[in-house]
Structure formats: structure tokens, C-alpha cells
């Protein structure tokens, strides 16, 4: 089976702004791929290039085995797209938009359409202008999820949805995965990506800074340790890979790199451990490390 999305060295400039600066992205068939980055990192630009709406300045882009610019129409039959800000025609009802988009993608499953409307609690009779932000987003989601396509391209699709609807959304993405669809999910909501995605690509300033499974990414990062020891600690601070060490009597807290974890734990057990809590880094922490703290070396 072909790789649904393969992007390498993608460059896109708008005037003097370099929105994408050598971006790499690979999405494998049947996976839910998280596409993470802060606002303005280039997520939407990448997606628009994938949809053949924007023309790449440099780099290789393959979508479902074709060229997204040249073969746009043929490829679009096989995918459904939800923009981050769904705008509707003010005079068309939500149901009309769902059916219109579905028909223009080559048909949608009426049974799934009804199920989706029910689970998203969406009234399809309201006119476009009468919907709130969250409900407009639901119209886009129902139209995409009810379509019979092999690839779903979702650009921050849950913006404006409440937590209950967020759960409904996750349920339907799981179902899409079970049905064998591939999903590219751009997001800056980390909990959503943690809950849904098999693999993640983190992008910053138009470049992919990390790519891999959540497990692989965590492997590259630190674990937070909070331990109560039998005796006061000494000699841990000079161990390479240990950071932010705080000692309060027999209680120690520190972060440790994956590679130094084993050595650090040995040192602790030598002293005697009364209690120990270790936490894997959340995506928030991975994220903070990339966007808030000092520059981090790019991991291929």
C-alpha cells in the first residue's frame, strides 16, 4: 500500500515570509498522524499545499501517490478536508452544505450522516449564518466523516467544540481508523493528539523538529522523578543528564534524560528508596521544551 503523504524539503514563501522552510512529513497508511505546532508554525500552509491549493516553491510532495497540484481533482475524490475555521454560506442550511460537500467528494454514507448528526447533536435545518463557531465546525466534521474517503485531512478541526463534543470527535476518529482510513490531524491541543495519534510530527517555524511515535519522542526526553530516600542525597548533581535537582532533606526531585535514567535510579536505590513517583513528560512539556525554552537541537 502506498504512503498517503510524503513530503520532503517543502518550501513555501509568501513575499518575504518563509512560511515553510524545508519541511519533512510522512504519514503512513492507516495511521492517525498528529501534526503539532503553535499558531503560525506552518500547519495550515502545509495542508493547503497538500490539497493543491497552494503551489510548493521547492521540495517533493506526494499525496496518495500523486502530485497534489497537478492531480488535484483526481486526488480530492479520495480525501475529505475540514478547515480550522469552517465558514458557511449564510443562506444555505447546514444539511444542505453537508450534502453538497459530500456529493462533490463523490458521495456520502446516509446512515453514517444520520448517526453523526445525532452524536454531534447538530440541527441540520439551521441556516449557515445562524450557527455558532462550534456548530459550523460540526457541519464541516459531519460532511467529512460521512464521506467515503481513504484520507481525512483535519486542520485543527475541534476549535470551538466543548469537551463533550471533543469526546464525540475522538470516538469518530477512532472509528475512521478502524475502518482503515488514514488521518492527518493538525492540532495544538496536546491531550487530543495524545489520545488519538499513533505518530506525531512537531513543526516549528516551517520545519519539522521531531517526528515519531509518542514513545519514541518520550525516549528522547526527560523523566520527572520525585523520590523519598532513606538517607540524605549526595553526588547526584554532577551526574550528566540530571537537571533541575532540588533536595529538601531526604526528598529529591529532578528531571533526568532518558539515557541517564538507569544510572540515576541505581544511585537512588543505593541510598534506599522509601517512595518514588516517576512521570513521563506530557506533550505539553515536550512542546514547552521546543517552543518556550532555549533552542533545542533538531532531531531528525
Amino acid at each position: 500500500m502506498e504512503t498517503p503523504i510524503e513530503v520532503s524539503g517543502l518550501v513555501k514563501t509568501f513575499g518575504r515570509t518563509r512560511a515553510l522552510d524545508g519541511l519533512d512529513l510522512t504519514v503512513r497508511a492507516g495511521e492517525v498522524h498528529g501534526f503539532l505546532g503553535p499558531n503560525g508554525a506552518g500547519k495550515s500552509t502545509t495542508i493547503r499545499v497538500l490539497l493543491g491549493l497552494l503551489r510548493a516553491d521547492a521540495g517533493a510532495v506526494r499525496l496518495l501517490g500523486g502530485d497534489p497540484w497537478r492531480d488535484a481533482v483526481a486526488l480530492h475524490r479520495r480525501l475529505a478536508y475540514v478547515p480550522g475555521d469552517v465558514t458557511l454560506w449564510p443562506t444555505l442550511s447546514g444539511g444542505e452544505v453537508i450534502d453538497l460537500l459530500g456529493r462533490m467528494r463523490g458521495g456520502l454514507d446516509p446512515k453514517r450522516r444520520a448517526e453523526l448528526l445525532e452524536s454531534f447533536e447538530l440541527d441540520p435545518r439551521k441556516k449557515g449564518r445562524a450557527y455558532s463557531k462550534g456548530n459550523r465546525q460540526k457541519v464541516g466534521l459531519v460532511a467529512a466523516l460521512a464521506s467515503d474517503v481513504e484520507l481525512l485531512v483535519l486542520d485543527e478541526p475541534t476549535s470551538g467544540l466543548d469537551p463533550l463534543m471533543e469526546e464525540v470527535f475522538q470516538h469518530w476518529v477512532h472509528r475512521a481508523k478502524q475502518d482503515g482510513r488514514t488521518v492527518l490531524l493538525s492540532s495544538h491541543i496536546l491531550a487530543e493528539v495524545e489520545a488519538l495519534c499513533d505518530r506525531v510530527t512537531i513543526i516549528r517555524n516551517g520545519r519539522a523538529v521531531e517526528s515519531g511515535t509518542l514513545g519514541e519522542l518520550r525516549h528522547l526526553h526527560r523523566t520527572s522523578i520525585d523520590a523519598e530516600l532513606a538517607a540524605p542525597l549526595d553526588g547526584l548533581a554532577d551526574l550528566p543528564g540530571v537537571h533541575d535537582l532540588r533536595v529538601d532533606g531526604t526528598r529529591v526531585r529532578f528531571d533526568v534524560d532518558g539515557a541517564a535514567l538507569d544510572t540515576a535510579l541505581r544511585r537512588l536505590t543505593e541510598l534506599g528508596v522509601r517512595s518514588l513517583v516517576s512521570k513521563p513528560p506530557t506533550l505539553e512539556e515536550l512542546f514547552l521544551r521546543h517552543y518556550e525554552t532555549t533552542p533545542v537541537e533538531v532531531n531528525a
Binding site: R48, L51, G52, L53, L54, R55, A72, V73, A74, H76, R77, L79, Y81, V82, P83, D85, V86, T87, L88, W89, P90, T91, L92, S93, G94, G95, E96, V97, I98, D99, L100, L101, R103, M104, R105, G106, P124, R125, K126, K127, R129, A130, G140, V153
Partner: protein, 530 residues
């Protein structure tokens, strides 16, 4: 908190947003009357020449239909009449400005954000009206100063300037009311323009008929009735003030009684599923354009009925003047004059139909800018198909609108001369002859949209230039090559005996080439281009 709290901030916001647009229309519209005056001084240096021109003008119903009556034969009086059509443009600019800063903001959701700040309930409407009122007054004062600087009497100059300003103010207020009625800015603009068109029709009927009472009912008729440079009747200036006060007295309570974003009519529910017609881009484009086509057709049909019915009377207005009757006899008698009048009004309809074409083409830009083109182009819709679904309406719309105008004109004119079978096809033909020139403008809008989407609204400017060339070319003694730039200059007068169809083919070809170039550009560019 007072109901006007925050008006000051909104005024500054409007001035910031319109810092180019507002001075532009104020200046252009204020300078034009001055150029009329200087060209009249140049054209008719002697009193006898002016008297002859004034007599001719006073007898020419097509000029009166367009500009209004002429009172006297002084340069001032001639200038005031020549500025008659400017009143329509001032009214339009004023009402569009008010709608743009009230309902458009509300529809886009920007007013909601502002409404959450310290803002009085009346502040939004007041700020928009205030800015437009001041702009109109500034326009009036500049006009007056400009006219006086050419050597015209000060009293008449100020009478004309104030009359123009107050006409603008009246339509600004009407725009403010229209903005309260509908949920959409497009709907509000439509209501405002319909009122403007009705006012124009009333004035036209009143000025060309023997009794001018309909003109007294029209806000566009009052400026002439102030009689600038011809024994000013200052009290007439009170009429637009009274109307503005009355309209505002309705608009303000409406603006607070309704919810933010809501119109007077509650929104209705739509169908839960897409009907069989809504299967692709063309079905969607039909849904988006059909309302406009319908309303334009109704408006143009009514206008055609009025114009056709008034034509015979217009042709007879030369009776009693032996000299003119003799001239008229040579060009075909009263019926010749009536047909010349109809030809002139149908060419105006052609300009308006071009306006339809331009707005239909620019619809694509609005769709793209709002993010509604993107999801469609991410389906199996080809870019060309999406573009064509709108271009079809930009091209067919003018045909429909002009055909309706021609048929309506032919019907009432035919009834008045007891020859419907003869008049109907002639008027339909004369109306449809305007189509190719209108297509050129629509094609130009498509070209801009495809190649330089950010500059797409320039198409309106080009149409405005065509209107000015057509209406002022002769007065300003512009050279022929300049006039030839406007496609409307090349439209043949099919109501005359000899005319050639060649320009029609040439214009059609040009329009298609422009649209095709636009399509090619659209294929290559990024969507959305912001």
C-alpha cells in the same frame, strides 16, 4: 453609561479604516461640479450661446430624464443641472458608507467584539451616521467653494453645495435604517439601492411629465428645486432634513429593540438535506446568485415600464417650438426623438447591467476571502469548474437583466404608440446590444480576480471611469481616443437606421479573451491569496 458612550472611539475606527476611501469620494465628487462650470465658461462665452444651449437642454427629455430640469440660462444654472446625476452618486456613496460601518460589521461579527467594550447602544449607528454626515457636509462646502472660485455667485454655489450635502445626508440616514432591517449587509445595500432607484424613477417621471409633483416626493428631486443660481429657494433645504430626522426616528428605536446580529425578520429554518439541484458548483452558484438576478430583473423591469411609458410624452415635448420641431422632423419627428431618448436610457441600463456583471464576478473574491472557496476546491471540483460556475452568472446576468429591461420598455412604449409588435423587438434588440460592452467589464473583473485578486475591486473603478467618460466626455470635450477606451463608446445605436454589428462581435471576443486570461491566471495562483 450613556447610550452614546464610545461613539468617539468608533468614529476614530471608521476614519482609520476609511482613511483613503472617504477623502477619495469627497474630493472626486466635490471637484466635478467645478470642472462643469469651467467647461461651460469655455464652451459658451456669450449669453446668446448659453441661451441657445439652455433652450435646447430644456427641451431635451433624455437630458432632463438623466440630470433633472434646468432653471435659467446662466452658467450657474447649467452647472447645477449638469451636476444632477452626481446627486445619485453622492446618495449611493453615503448609504453604502453607513451600511459598511453598521450591518457589514455586525454580520462579520466584529461589532460583537466591540459591543463587549464600553459602548453605548446608540454608539454604532451614531458613529457611522456622524462620519457620513460630516463627509457629506465637507463635500458640500468644498463643492461650494470650488464653484465660487470659478466666478459663480456665492449664494448659488452654497445653495448647490448644501443641497448636494443634504441629499447625501438623507440617503446616509436611509442606509442607517436599511441596516436595521436585514441580517445581511447585502440585503441592507439592496434595500438602500432600491430606495435610491425609486427616488430616481420618481424624479425622472416628475421632471419629464407636465406636472412635476412626483419630483417633490423624491429626495433626488429637491436639490434642483432649491434652484441654485436661479432665485434660491432656501426653504426646500428643510425637506431632506425633515426626512432624515423622520428616518432616523425609526432607525434608532429599531437598532436597540433588536438583538445584535438580528434583523427585523426572524431567520427561517432551511431544509435538513440538500435538494436534487444542489449537487455541485453550478447548483451552489445558482443558489448564491438567484436572489440578485431576481431583484435586479424586477427593478429593471419596473424602470423599463416607466421609461417606455414616458418616451412618447418626451418625444412630444418639442411641440410648440417651431424651430425645434423642424429640427426634429429632420431626424424623424417626435417618434425619432422618443427613440433617441429610449436609446439613451437603455445605454444607461447597459452601464448598470455591467455593474451586475462586475458584482457577480467579484462574488468569487468574496467567497475566497471568506474561506468558502477552499473546502470546495478540496473536493473533486476542478478550479475551472468553480470559476465558470460564477462567470456564467457574470455573463448571463447582464443578458437577463437587459432582456427584461428591453421587453418592459418595448411593451409600454409599444402600447403608447399602438404598435407593440413593432416596438417590442426593436427595444429588446437595443437593450441586448448593450450586452457585449457589459461583458467586457465583467470579463475585466474576472481577469483581475484570476491574475491580481487583491486588486479585483479595481473593476468597480473601471466601471466608474466608463460612466464618467460616457456622461462627461462630450461636456469636457475629451479627445476621441480617450472616449474609445470605454467599451460603451463602441456600442452601436441600433434604434437608428444604420448601424454595424461588427463592434458587438469585437467586444464579445474581447470579453471572452479577458475572462480566459483570468481563468489561466486562476489556474496558476495560490488559493486563498490574502
Amino acid at each position: 453609561m450613556s447610550t452614546l458612550t464610545g461613539t468617539r472611539h468608533l468614529v476614530r475606527l471608521i476614519l482609520r479604516r476609511d482613511r483613503f476611501l472617504l477623502p477619495l469620494w469627497i474630493l472626486v465628487l466635490a471637484v466635478l461640479p467645478m470642472t462643469y462650470a469651467t467647461s461651460f465658461f469655455d464652451l459658451f462665452p456669450t449669453e446668446a450661446q448659453r441661451a441657445a444651449y439652455a433652450a435646447g437642454t430644456a427641451r431635451n427629455p433624455s437630458i432632463i430624464a438623466l440630470l433633472g430640469p434646468v432653471y435659467g440660462d446662466s452658467v450657474g444654472a447649467l452647472t447645477a443641472q449638469r451636476g444632477g446625476f452626481l446627486l445619485v452618486i453622492i446618495g449611493l456613496a453615503s448609504l453604502l458608507t453607513v451600511v459598511r460601518h453598521t450591518r457589514t460589521e455586525e454580520e462579520a461579527g466584529r461589532r460583537e467584539l466591540l459591543g463587549s467594550t464600553v459602548l453605548g447602544r446608540y454608539a454604532g449607528l451614531t458613529a457611522a451616521l456622524l462620519v457620513t454626515y460630516v463627509a457629506d457636509l465637507l463635500l458640500g462646502l468644498l463643492t461650494a467653494a470650488g464653484l465660487a472660485s470659478t466666478g459663480l455667485p456665492a449664494a448659488g454655489s452654497y445653495a448647490y453645495g448644501l443641497a448636494a450635502a443634504l441629499t447625501g445626508i438623507a440617503f446616509a440616514t436611509i442606509g442607517g435604517l436599511a441596516a436595521q432591517l436585514t441580517e445581511t449587509a447585502g440585503g441592507a445595500r439592496g434595500i438602500g439601492i432600491a430606495v435610491l432607484a425609486a427616488a430616481f424613477a420618481l424624479r425622472l417621471v416628475g421632471d419629464t411629465a407636465s406636472n412635476d409633483w412626483p419630483s417633490w416626493l423624491s429626495p433626488l428631486g429637491w436639490a434642483a428645486r432649491v434652484r441654485p443660481y436661479a432665485g434660491e429657494r432656501w426653504w426646500v433645504l428643510a425637506l431632506p432634513l425633515i426626512v432624515s430626522a423622520l428616518v432616523a426616528a425609526v432607525a434608532y428605536p429599531l437598532s436597540v429593540r433588536r438583538d445584535l446580529g438580528a434583523g427585523l425578520l426572524p431567520p427561517r429554518l432551511g431544509p435538513a438535506t440538500g435538494g436534487t439541484a444542489l449537487t455541485g458548483p453550478f447548483g451552489l452558484a445558482w443558489r448564491l446568485h438567484r436572489g440578485q438576478i431576481l431583484w435586479w430583473s424586477v427593478g429593471f423591469g419596473l424602470l423599463g415600464l416607466i421609461l417606455g411609458g414616458a418616451a412618447k410624452a418626451a418625444g412630444r415635448s418639442v411641440e410648440g417650438n417651431p424651430q425645434l420641431e423642424e429640427i426634429m422632423a429632420r431626424i424623424g419627428g417626435a417618434s425619432g426623438l422618443a427613440e433617441a431618448y429610449l436609446g439613451a436610457t437603455l445605454s444607461l441600463a447597459g452601464l448598470a447591467a455591467a455593474g451586475y456583471g462586475v458584482q457577480a464576478a467579484l462574488r468569487m473574491r468574496a467567497e475566497e476571502a471568506a474561506g468558502r472557496a477552499e473546502p470546495l476546491l478540496a473536493t473533486e471540483t476542478h478550479r475551472a469548474t468553480w470559476l465558470l460556475s460564477h462567470v456564467v452568472f457574470a455573463l448571463l446576468g447582464p443578458v437577463v437583466v437587459l432582456a427584461v429591461t428591453g421587453l418592459a420598455t418595448g411593451l409600454t412604449y409599444g402600447l403608447s404608440v399602438h404598435d407593440v409588435p413593432g416596438a417590442l423587438p426593436r427595444m429588446l434588440g437595443a437593450a441586448l446590444a448593450q450586452v457585449p460592452a457589459a461583458w467586457v467589464l465583467a470579463g475585466f473583473a474576472v481577469l483581475l480576480y484570476g491574475l491580481l485578486p487583491r486588486l479585483a475591486p479595481v473593476a468597480w473603478g473601471v466601471l466608474a471611469v466608463c460612466v464618467l467618460l460616457g456622461q462627461l466626455g462630450a461636456v469636457l470635450k475629451l479627445s476621441q481616443w480617450l472616449l474609445d477606451l470605454s467599451p460603451f463608446t463602441h456600442t452601436p445605436q441600433t434604434l437608428r437606421d444604420h448601424w454595424s454589428a461588427t463592434p458587438l462581435w469585437a467586444l464579445t471576443l474581447l470579453a471572452l479573451l479577458l475572462a480566459a486570461a483570468g481563468l489561466t491566471g486562476f489556474h496558476r495562483r495560490d488559493v486563498p491569496t490574502t
